[in-house]
């Protein structure tokens, strides 16, 4: 169809699914399992306490990225989806970080004594 060419976009069929094979899915899943194990392990490690929170944040974000990128195909999928989802995440994260900052910064909370 000439109109598609004029659009500069092609209708994509199943081509992108070939990026990842079941073997790779299993490999990703093993990595995810290992990360989870590490998370739980360092949770019980007293010496890891000072670095526990940043480590947990990084590890969970890695898991998040792996599932979204590989299992949900976002890494290979249409850029529209990437843009949408990442923009949504950015808005949501910034709104709620600001929201939490206001509560954590608030000094006026006072329970009944």
């Amino acid at each position: 169809m000439a109109s598609n060419v004029a659009h500069g976009q092609q209708v994509i069929g199943h081509a992108e699914e070939e990026h990842t094979t079941p073997q790779e899915y299993v490999r990703v899943a093993i990595v995810l399992a290992i990360i989870t194990a590490i998370e739980v392990f360092i949770y019980y490690l007293p010496s890891a306490r000072p670095l526990l929170v940043p480590a947990l944040i990084i590890l969970s974000l890695a898991k998040f990225a792996a599932v979204v990128g590989y299992f949900m195909h976002l890494k290979f999928d249409n850029r529209l989806f990437q843009f949408m989802f990442i923009a949504g995440l950015v808005v949501s994260l910034s709104v709620f970080l600001a929201f939490l900052a206001m509560f954590w910064y608030s000094t006026s909370y006072m329970p009944l004594t």
Binding site: M1, S3, N4, H7, Q9, Q10, V11, I12, G13, H14, E17, T21, P22, Y25, V26, V28, A29, L32, A33, T36, E39, V40, Y43, Y44, R49, L52, V53, L56, I57, L59, S60, K63, F64, V67, V68, Y70, F71, M72, N78, L80, F81, M84, F85, A87, G88, L89, V91, S92, L93, V95, F96, F99, L100, A101, F103, W104, Y105, P111
Partner: protein
């Protein structure tokens, strides 16, 4: 409830490019993507705000019950090994889900059914585990109304559980359709969309597992007053000082 409707009603609509609605009047999708898949991604984008609100509320109330000295406290309630297994189960269900998708895309219907069933089963185990967890916690005195920890914990994990439950029902429905022969290779998109939903539910749990269960809580009494993030306060006061230093 919005969740259930949007997801389910998306079913079987739109100009799915695989579905052979080659009417001359219908131009191809102008963004080159499947409309239903686009709908699902939009829904998930919106759901980031949905769970963002729930998680942010939990984070805000996270330490408050400890500050107020209203037990039960998270430290006494949570059973990390148990929940780790739950989290692992849900994580692995994402693998089986993606294998189900890979199967239907290759026309392997037997594989599709096996993996769909496995995913639904793992999801079911997760929900069952959650029900068991809730009853145990309730036994230990943590209820919706016992303190704000209870309120925000149950509502957050409950909404997630409801998402998983809907997902399980959806997978079972797909399985039934597939067994009746209604899910040919051309309809792989139906599985892909269900998969997107399922994986999203999984990543929400990744966040919940970390921030609700693993990130440590202050000790009642001793650390109660040290909960505010000092580094952040410092940063804020820095901005304040900079503003005060302006010459006018």
């Amino acid at each position: 409830m919005a969740t259930a409707i949007t997801v389910e009603t998306a079913h079987g609509e739109g100009q799915g490019i695989h579905e052979g609605h080659g009417h001359a009047g219908h131009p191809p999708p102008s963004a080159g993507v499947d409309s239903r898949k686009l709908l699902m991604w939009l829904f998930l984008t919106s759901d980031t705000m949905f769970f963002g609100t729930l998680i942010a509320t939990y984070m805000m109330y996270r330490d408050r019950s400890i500050q107020l000295l209203t037990p039960p406290y998270p430290n006494d309630i949570f059973d990390i090994p148990y929940t780790s297994v739950s989290a692992f189960v849900l994580l692995m269900s994402s693998l089986t889900m993606v294998l189900a998708l890979a199967s239907i895309q290759r026309g392997n219907y037997r594989g599709l059914r096996i993996w769909l069933a496995a995913t639904a089963l793992l999801g079911g185990i997760f929900v069952g585990g959650q029900v068991f967890e809730f009853t145990t916690f309730a036994h230990e005195g943590l209820t919706l109304s016992s303190n704000v920890f209870g309120s925000s914990f149950y509502v957050l994990t409950g909404f997630h559980g409801a998402h998983v439950t809907i997902g399980v029902l959806w997978l079972v429905a797909l399985l039934v359709v597939s067994l009746r022969g209604g899910l040919p290779k051309e309809k792989a998109m139906s599985v892909e969309i269900a998969g997107l939903y399922w994986h999203f539910v999984d990543i929400v749990w990744i966040i919940i597992f970390t921030f609700v269960y693993l990130v440590p809580y202050p000790n009642p009494v001793k650390e109660a007053t040290e909960a505010a993030p000092a580094a952040f306060l410092h940063l804020v006061s820095l901005g304040q000082q900079m503003l005060a230093a302006l010459p006018f």
